[in-house]
């Protein structure tokens, strides 16, 4: 039954739309305008801001630091996602086996996904410490490392210190979504393949992978979107350092806006980041078109 009088419908939606238009819609538009203006702390309150067209965009694309941050964002995201995805996939397969504690244990792992990023950052900063960190102590005891690595203060390793932390946070997300996909696979297909004498590996390549393809692509794209906009982890653990070796687009944008108070330049970096995410989101939405939400 669809109600004929739609006034109540509009009234019910109004608060949500009003809040979101003010706190999300308006900032998106304002940020685009900001990026074309020369806005500093001085003229922030007054109306006297000069339009400078595409100058900020020209500036950032010829800026070495921006290109470095862009590259590091890509590197961080791709490395994180490969690791999270492979480990998450393996765990999803393992926990899809038929044993008593499987779903309980799998659920338990989700707790790390809800831990505040600031806390995860703090915790890994401790565990990665060259003097007292267990992630140096254990590999050394096992003979994998001969001397401690200054994970977060060595320019060669700092980005990997962040990747490691992000992988820990992201595994349950990948695992849960892939597990949901596996559960919806037809059990009969598996069983008939077993009768046909296909071994574990053949079943995986010929049946599991192709059938899971849509789910796997969605997980990869969502993971990409959430990883690419990383902010809190980097901000707390290294704040882009040492020597900009962990600078990513979001921290660079924040630095321009709130350390240098060059709001226009910060806005242009944020917009480039947003645009990249929108491109990924476009493919994501195209893929999930059958989904009822965007029917």
């Amino acid at each position: 039954m669809r109600f004929k009088g739609n006034t109540i419908g509009y009234l019910f939606i109004l608060p949500a739309v009003a809040v979101m238009a003010t706190l999300v819609g308006y900032p998106i538009v304002y940020n685009i305008i900001l990026s074309f203006q020369d806005v500093t702390l001085m003229n922030l309150g007054s109306g006297a801001k000069s339009f400078i067209g595409l100058d900020h965009y020209k500036q950032i694309f010829s800026d070495e630091l921006f290109m470095k941050a862009l590259w590091q964002t890509v590197y961080y995201s791709v490395a994180s996602i490969i690791l999270q995805f492979v480990i998450g996939f393996a765990l999803a397969l393992f926990f899809s086996l038929n044993f008593k504690l499987a779903s309980y244990l799998r659920g338990l792992m989700m707790v790390t996904w809800l831990v505040p990023l600031t806390v995860a950052a703090l915790l890994f900063q401790f565990m990665l410490s060259p003097s007292v960190g267990v992630l140096n102590y254990l590999p050394m005891e096992l003979g994998i490392l001969s001397e401690p690595i200054a994970w977060l203060s060595d320019t060669n390793y700092a980005l990997w210190g962040l990747i490691l932390t992000n992988v820990w946070i992201g595994i349950p997300f990948n695992m849960l979504l892939i597990a949901t996909g596996i559960n919806s696979l037809l059990k009969e297909v598996f069983e008939s393949a077993q009768i046909d004498g296909a071994n574990w590996f053949q079943r995986f390549v010929k049946i599991t992978l192709p059938m899971l393809r849509p789910v796997l692509l969605i997980v990869l794209m969502l993971g990409m979107i959430y990883t690419f906009k990383v902010f809190d982890l980097v901000f707390v653990m290294t704040n882009g350092g040492p020597a900009n070796s962990t600078e990513v687009l979001s921290t660079l944008s924040y630095r321009y806006s709130f350390d240098h108070f060059n709001f226009g330049l910060g806005a242009s970096v944020a917009n480039v980041l947003f645009l990249i995410l929108l491109v990924i989101a476009f493919f994501y939405i195209k893929m999930t078109r059958d989904d009822e939400v965007i029917e």
């Binding site: 039954m1 669809r2 109600f3 739609n6 109540i8 419908g9 509009y10 009234l11 939606i13 608060p15 949500a16 739309v17 809040v19 003010t22 706190l23 999300v24 308006y26 304002y30 900001l34 038929n98 044993f99 499987a102 244990l105 338990l108 792992m109 707790v111 996904w113 809800l114 831990v115 505040p116 990023l117 600031t118 703090l122 915790l123 890994f124 401790f126 565990m127 410490s129 007292v132 997300f173 849960l176 949901t180 077993q194 906009k229 902010f231 979001s250 924040y254 806006s257 709130f258 709001f263 806005a267 944020a270 980041l273 995410l277 929108l278 939405i285 999930t288 009822e292 939400v293 965007i294």
Partner: protein, 276 residues
């Protein structure tokens, strides 16, 4: 054959599974246990899995220096944000499921994209907006800023709950003399309660975990939540890890409580909410 052997080796799989989870969750154990150690025990050559003597100093010392206030601030911000999310999202999700609304697709698309938007896009505009509204340096700024993520998530999560709720229930309520509004409150809300619980928990946790809104919009340290306190403490305490881990432990306790209480709903809801 294979089925049988798996069943037969069930105990082995259970043990492997248990070991995986223990290793995976060990950092959280490590954080909690470190908060009860003395500074010298943390720095000794061989780390201890269980503190040799349990100390509560890292908690006691810090409660004097603002930890209590920060915990309170975190609760004020997270609960207020959660209330806004719930009040705004439930009717909207219901309307988007049950009424013909022009532009519904566009609205849903907008919410979907909101979830993907990097925080840095909105920080500077909101800073200017809040400055003009005179709410910089109040709880209201981070409360509003953190509610948007929860609203988008909740509407996208709750709409399918309403779609799958039997329409006969509403019809019966209308025949019984309810109007559309009372039918919504008395009949529909109880039906989708599991979804509402997930939304409430998630929007609480969104706001609870937020760092950058408070750090950007609040200058007065008296109003800072735990996350901002942690950020500040990292610089202040340096390597006094027992203090820092105590901070982290307190910030994580509500997460664990919520998770344990709502685990069944949360895991299902998170899967649904992130795909949609």
């Amino acid at each position: 054959m294979i089925r049988k052997s798996i069943k037969h080796n069930g105990w082995l799989l259970n043990i492997i599974g248990l070991i995986i989870v223990i290793i995976y969750l060990s950092p959280i154990y490590w954080m909690i246990i470190t908060s009860f150690k003395s500074q010298s025990e943390i720095f000794q050559a061989v780390p201890t899995l269980i503190p040799k003597d349990f100390q509560f100093n890292s908690y006691i010392d810090q409660f004097g220096s603002g930890l209590g206030q920060m915990t309170l601030n975190s609760f004020i911000i997270a609960i207020s944000s959660m209330i806004i999310v719930i009040i705004v999202s439930i009717p909207a999700a219901y309307a988007l499921a049950r009424f013909r609304v022009k532009g519904a697709k566009l609205i849903l698309l907008f919410f979907l994209i909101t979830q993907m938007m990097p925080t840095t896009v909105s920080l500077a505009p909101l800073f200017i907006l809040f400055k003009n509204l005179g709410i910089l340096n109040t709880y209201i700024a981070p409360i509003l800023a953190t509610s948007t993520g929860g609203i988008a998530f909740s509407i996208l999560l709750l709409r399918p709950y309403f779609l799958s709720a039997p329409k006969a229930l509403e019809e019966a309520a209308l025949l019984d003399g309810c109007n559309r509004f009372t039918a919504f409150i008395r009949v529909m809300i109880p039906v989708v309660m599991p979804g509402i619980l997930v939304c409430a928990a998630i929007s609480f946790l969104f706001a609870w975990g937020d760092l950058i809104s408070s750090l950007t919009f609040i200058r007065d340290q008296e109003l800072w939540p735990l996350t901002a306190g942690i950020y500040n403490a990292i610089g202040r305490y340096g390597t006094e890890y027992n203090y820092l881990m105590a901070f982290g432990t307190i910030a994580v306790i509500p997460v664990i409580i919520l998770f344990v209480a709502l685990q069944k709903y949360l895991v299902k809801g998170l899967a649904a909410g992130s795909v949609k």
